[in-house]
């Protein structure tokens, strides 16, 4: 079975240990929710999982193989949603989504994704006319348009209205039902059935473990 795991992760940012000795493991259909107060390292952990940040020690692995060994393969099986929405002001909503879907080799599924997130009426509107929540929906449409087994979502409900949050929850459930894996961070409540919860505050460094 494919397992997404991290072992003994040490994260250092700006010369400071953010968290240390962190392990996690999620299997097919599983979900992991990252919680913790501001600055506890939720975003940092998601970036480690995506491969954007290298762990100072420890390893993040897919099916036992470190993700750093074949970054392109990891990119192919993963979607990362960060704080920025990567929406080009000059391209229409449809063009924005289909560019990213195309990079993952999917192009026919864009309209369906827009439909699901209730932005198909904005399909031809340029990105610069979108509000904060509309941009976020475009970003999520990119994830839906190109199916990939692993979703990494950093506070995905930011700026979304309630109806869209419900839609997102349903999509996550569907994704998991199909054997997909979800890791997300949140300050609110996202009800995910049978999800593991990782409280980042438990992995703060002790007083001795400051990096020189």
């Amino acid at each position: 079975m494919t397992q997404f795991t991290g072992k003994d992760l040490l994260c250092v940012r700006g010369g400071r240990v953010v968290f240390t000795g962190l392990d996690f493991s999620v299997g097919p259909g599983g979900a992991l929710v990252l919680i913790g107060p501001n600055g506890s390292g939720k975003s940092s952990l998601l970036r480690l999982m995506a491969g954007l940040l290298k762990p100072y020690a420890g390893i993040v692995a897919w099916d036992g193989e470190g993700i750093a060994e074949d970054p392109e393969a990891h990119g192919g099986r993963m979607h990362y949603v960060g704080h920025h929405d990567a929406v080009k002001p000059a391209l229409s909503v449809h063009e924005n989504v289909s560019f990213w879907a195309g990079l993952h080799g999917h192009v026919g599924t864009v309209d369906g994704a827009l439909e699901t997130l209730a932005i198909s009426h904005l399909s031809d509107v340029p990105g610069r006319f979108l509000s904060a929540g509309q941009k976020r929906r475009v970003n999520l449409a990119r994830v839906l348009a190109a199916p990939s087994p692993l979703w990494l979502l950093d506070e995905p409900t930011t700026a979304l209205d309630k109806a869209t949050i419900t839609t997102l929850e349903r999509q996550i459930a569907e994704h998991r039902a199909g054997g997909g894996i979800v890791v997300l961070s949140t300050h609110g409540e996202i009800p995910l059935e049978g999800a593991g919860v990782l409280e980042l505050a438990h992995f703060q460094a002790g007083s001795g473990e400051i990096a020189a």
Partner: protein, 222 residues
């Protein structure tokens, strides 16, 4: 892989054509810089003609540098660069695609405008053909070198000025041989050696710069 390369080139071309009049603006900067020089130096035709090749090259260089500053900047700020780095192709491919699109929208128009400015500066007629030839070989080199600098300054607090410090020194050899070739042609000397050296620069930077630029981008989005 080629599909992704094409997709990125097409996207960048579309963005360039749709939103900014990039090409128009680069060309206009080029023209204005040359004009400034004519004003600064004064109107004596023989002094102007004497320094024509140098002024054109320096202006082309500055124009190229200015437009390169934003090569990765916007993608960096709106999060697209992260996603490109996470795409299922090597980041080097994306870098080369972006440089290609950039050169097509800015380098090429510069070359088309150059003969006009040469006339304005009363450059000797012999130099025209060779001026275009050296610009054709030289400007892609500038774009490639500049891409490294554009990657390095991402996230720093001083874009434009810092970029100029990093890459202008590396531009100097291209400038020297570029001007040298034109001056040689005008003076009736052989200029093949200059062209060969410029070609070697292009080959060298095509081999090295994509890796360096990709490395620079990778550390920037950490």
């Amino acid at each position: 892989m080629m599909g992704v390369f094409g997709a990125i080139v097409r996207r960048d071309l579309r963005l360039a054509l749709r939103q900014g009049m990039d090409s128009v603006m680069v060309v206009m900067f080029f023209v204005i810089a040359v004009v400034l020089f004519s004003f600064g130096v004064g109107p004596e035709p023989n002094v102007l003609a004497r320094i024509a090749a140098g002024v054109i090259w320096v202006s082309a260089l500055l124009a190229s540098m200015l437009s390169l500053e934003r090569l990765f900047q916007i993608d960096y700020e709106d999060g697209s660069l992260e996603l490109l780095a996470l795409a299922p192709v090597p980041l080097e491919v994306a870098v080369v695609a972006k440089v290609t699109a950039h050169w097509l929208t800015t380098g090429l128009p510069l070359i088309l405008a150059a003969p006009l400015l040469a006339v304005l500066l009363r450059m000797d007629g012999e130099g025209f053909g060779i001026l275009i030839a050296v610009l054709l070989i030289g400007t892609p080199t500038l774009s490639l070198i500049g891409a490294v600098g554009a990657g390095l300054i991402l996230g720093s607090r001083r874009g434009g000025v810092l970029l100029s410090l990093l890459i202008l020194p590396l531009y100097i050899p291209v400038l020297i041989f570029g001007v040298g070739a034109v001056d040689a042609a005008i003076g009736g000397f052989p200029f093949k050696a200059h062209l060969l050296i410029l070609g070697a620069f292009l080959a060298g930077s095509a081999a090295l710069c994509p890796w360096a630029a990709a490395a620079a981008v990778r550390q920037a989005i950490e």
